[in-house]
Subunit: 367 residues, 2 copies
């Protein structure tokens, strides 16, 4: 007992940042030993703090996982090579391996939102490749509470539904169907100020990405203008937005389950069908409220098209109107030449191109 | 035919404001004849435009309802008597009856949100009294799209769930269980600028409420600071917020239905019960996702207490934790001395005071 007590008193106390990280680690049921875990580190305060917090947990024997740092140089900024070098040096000094990558996102409009999206796509592709190569089970990114609030507000500005306002999930598959999980262990609790403070406490001079100050990006303007104004109403608005996101996420999940069940109930096996997509019974769809119905229709279209690209609320509303027969019309057009037709109490999804061919009036369907 | 054509050409064209109002009237399935309908008119642009639009519809024989104007003088502003007089004169000139009321809201903190709430309560009480007296079926208020956006943002700033973010409904019972419906026929389509423009078009010089410019009220700051900043991101953010509100309202309704069904399924008739509130089966509750479960628990508590005053999310989360047995504890405290206890696979709701009496260990319940 005495020995154990003495040993404990010599050990430096776990920082509160690392303690919070450990709590979240347990809450998310992440592995505490043996696993290979990729940590995405840009060199900014958030990801540097994540790496330092994990390092603290490993060195104090709270975690026995194998950390591998991944850094992608997007080649978009003059300082990006220096950032890559800095991350490599820090990681080596801490005693972990680093996998560095480089991409070249040449773009005409360097400040467009598209560039942001392209950079994100390249980053996640690199992380998946890295995780697969080293057989990692988890990839960690350092999104914070503030990032979550920004995401929720950006979606709100577009008039999103519950799914969009749910923000970023704390844990999900890195790619659909992949075994690798993408985890954000800071999302539920860490403010940006916490990550900066923790880096300072560890006396690590994190890198600053000048694009984080470029107000040509909506996200930067949300961070620098909108959130500060909202804080003048409620100083804890970041937490409030995060709470709303998590409640709406639960709503969206419950409604998706319901929609799934409705879709199964409403499917009608089709003879002589022009498509492989099953038709849906109008009367079964009408038994459920609009929130469930609309999600079932969305899922039905997704399964047939393979994606929801360019599918807007206006298309879903048009399909819904077929159900109640409002405003005449038995056909609703979707993007990419698909359409939904109401025939004899059923909704059918079909490819317009095929239907453009001259078709003889169907004897079976008439009457 | 000729006569009819000629008559039509003499008639002044219906203003687009009145045409939009009529479209919404039909969408809300409001009565087009015989009904007595109370129009709440403060004298501001919104309610004056509502009255003028209805007047247009009545005089052009689109509506054959009996309009009665109601005006409550809150006695809060020096100009309030003049407003009352102005409304009376306008209404009489248009040829309708007016019911005027006066209240006296003396309050220590004239600028507090409580005053806003007290004024609202007094107004709705007056409207209900008026509607009952003249046997009206509907009471109309002039809330606009902009009011809806402000409401949604005020709720968002507090971290509300889907119910709060649903904003104000376009139609509801004026009081729970009342036959009188409270209707907002401008809510879905009219901007504040539309009501002002329409008043000007009709050459009516509406009254201006100086409290609408008082930035001590959060709502005024949302209007004058937050919404303008949000418009710099998306010029149609008011419509976006209204769309979000209406989608979340549909979600909340669908989930309330589900919760209602879950509550019925989970209820266990109790022998030897300390309360009249039925217990709930833990295993039945656990079959449903958190979004449905939490709403069922909320409804269960509402039915037992009669209200949800001071019930916060933290209380519901504590009750939920009893279900999964997380973090020990088989008792969750509610405000006002009520508590929820987990016993033998059931949740029981009881009044703490009664349980504070020394109770012999129950022989029936043991083991």
């Amino acid at each position: 007992m005495k020995t154990s007590n003495r040993r404990r008193s010599i050990k430096p106390k776990l920082s509160s940042f690392a303690a919070n990280l450990l709590e979240q680690w347990r809450r998310l049921a992440l592995p505490t030993s043996e696993a290979n875990i990729v940590v995405a580190v840009s060199g900014g305060a958030d990801s540097t703090a994540l790496l330092l917090g994990l390092d603290d947990l490993v060195k104090q024997n709270k975690l026995a996982v194998n950390l591998i740092v991944a850094h992608l140089d997007h080649g978009l900024r003059p300082t990006s090579r220096k950032d890559a070098l800095w991350v490599k040096e820090l990681t080596t000094e801490l005693g972990y391996d680093v996998v560095s990558g480089r991409t070249n996102l040449k773009s005409e409009s360097q400040k467009s939102e598209n560039l942001e999206q392209a950079a994100r796509d390249a980053r996640y592709k690199f992380l998946l490749k890295t995780a697969t190569k080293i057989r990692a089970t988890h990839v960690l990114t350092a999104h914070t509470l503030d990032d979550q609030a920004e995401t929720v507000l950006l979606r709100l500005l577009r008039g999103s539904a519950a799914e969009g306002l749910s923000g970023t999930p704390a844990i999900r598959e890195l790619k659909k169907g992949s075994n690798v999980l993408l985890v954000r262990p800071l999302l539920a609790w860490a403010h940006r100020s916490d990550t900066e403070d923790y880096c300072r406490q560890r006396q690590i001079d994190f890198r600053v990405d000048e694009m984080n100050d470029d107000e040509a990006f909506s996200r930067v303007r949300v961070r620098k203008q909108l959130l500060p104004l909202m804080k003048s109403f409620n100083n804890r608005v970041v937490e409030a937005l995060s709470r709303t996101a998590s409640l709406l996420n639960e709503d969206a999940e419950a409604l998706a389950d319901e929609a799934e069940r409705l879709l199964e109930l409403a499917q009608v096996p089709q003879k002589n069908s022009e498509t492989t997509t099953p038709a849906l019974s109008v009367s079964v769809l009408l038994q459920k409220p609009p929130a469930v119905r609309r999600r079932a229709l969305r899922e039905w279209i997704l399964r047939s098209r393979g994606d929801l690209k360019r599918l807007e609320m206006v298309h879903l509303v048009a399909v819904e109107k077929l159900l109640t027969g409002e405003r005449g019309g038995r056909i609703a057009e979707l993007p990419d030449g698909m359409k939904v037709t109401r025939k004899q109490g059923m909704l059918e999804l079909s490819n317009k191109k095929r239907l453009k061919m001259p078709t003889a009036p169907s004897k079976i369907r008439r009457g």
